[in-house]
Amino acid sequence: MQDNIIVRTITRILIPFIQLYGLYVIMHGDSGPGGGFQGGVILGSSIILYVIVFGVDQGRKIIPEKLSDTLNSIGVLIYAGIGLICMIFGGKYLEYNILPLGSAHFASHIGMLGIEIGVGITVAAVMITIFFETARQER
């Protein structure tokens, strides 16, 4: 598909919008439909579109193996880490409203946003990893 100028141009235009929408879905999980899982899948699909159009080798230049492997675990680390931070401040595991961020409502809100971001990072990275590894098998 690398030779088709229409596909290449449209992809270049579309990818920023797909990624922006993915970030929107993650960040608005607390007030509307959406959340980490859905937003992560949308973010991952933008990279998958890029790899389909520009090829695996070009895609690996954008997302090297090391980066996607690291992001895989960073998402879970953020989630579990927020739980541990809640324990450090004297609450139970994942008891967000104990965090010292002003009101309990706001702290709980920020805590949930944090874990949604963690979930989104892991889901996006795993989507990208699975796609890259299965795409590589064909050669």
Binding site: D30, F37, D69, G75, S108, M112, G118, T122, E133
Partner: protein, 91 residues
């Protein structure tokens, strides 16, 4: 042998169908499943968690452990794919 299997399947289907007769109507507010924790989620979500989306409050706050487990499952799937399918550069 085939007729015995058919008989067993039919009896099971009849028993299962008979079981659905006693089930509450779909979306019935008086159904036992809607009387246990659902009212608390609906009434106290904003007060207790500070978010307006009930689905997110259940997913991220009330059932936070569960979502941590789900995320770990996805992470494990990714690591398994890396371990099983990744090839070395120089083959």
């Amino acid at each position: 042998m085939k007729s015995i299997s058919l008989f067993a399947v039919l009896i099971t289907a009849a028993v299962l169908a008979y079981g659905t007769i006693d089930m509450p109507d779909f979306g019935d507010p008086q159904a036992p499943a809607n009387l246990h924790v659902a009212p608390r989620y609906i009434e106290k979500t904003h007060e207790e968690t500070g978010v307006t989306n009930m689905v997110t409050s259940v997913l991220a706050s009330y059932r936070g452990y569960d979502t941590l487990g789900e995320t770990t499952v996805i992470f494990t799937a990714g690591i398994s794919v890396i371990l099983l399918l990744r090839r070395k550069r120089d083959d």
